[in-house]
Symmetry: C2
Subunit: 96 residues, 2 copies
């Protein structure tokens, strides 16, 4: 069983990410992105998809045109784990 982050670990990790926020009523984090257009938004999603597949850890996400909303949580742990932080860090790194 993968380790679910404690409240302290969770707060510390989220604070080091860029623009991720806790989701109300769920042990998950979310970030909203706005790109120039659909081409840029879906290009970004494709980079995240390839990384997610490599990590075998996938996002929940919504897209409409230039807007992308990503929610990260670990289903097996029913909450936030190191896997979510790692995927969030990758996402931050390609949108810095």
């Amino acid at each position: 069983m993968i380790h679910k982050l404690t409240s302290e670990e969770r707060a510390a990790q989220i604070a080091e990410l860029n623009g991720w926020q806790a989701v109300a009523g769920r042990d998950a984090i979310q970030r909203h992105f706005k790109f120039a257009d659909f081409n840029e938004a879906f290009g970004f999603m494709t980079r995240v998809a390839i990384k997610a597949q490599e990590m075998d850890h996938h996002p929940e996400w919504f897209n409409v045109y230039s807007k992308v909303e990503i929610t990260l949580s670990t289903h097996e742990a029913n909450g936030l784990t190191e896997r979510d932080i790692k995927l969030a860090q990758f996402i931050d790194s390609i949108t810095a």
Copy 2:
């Protein structure tokens, strides 16, 4: 201004699509898809993205792992138009 489908046109067009349903409270249609895994789901999304860009008509969509939910509506017309039907027909054609 693009022509918004009348109630009769709307009903007739939706009836010819495969599994699309009217969205409650919105002049839009939605279909849910379930694939074998994320690779297949995102591969499908990529095909739809390329077509959408070519049509300059983009979906609203949500994905988590093997599941994809697509909502189609035409923002400029504030409702369902022929563009939505054409994109839905393409989506049906690649998932038949």
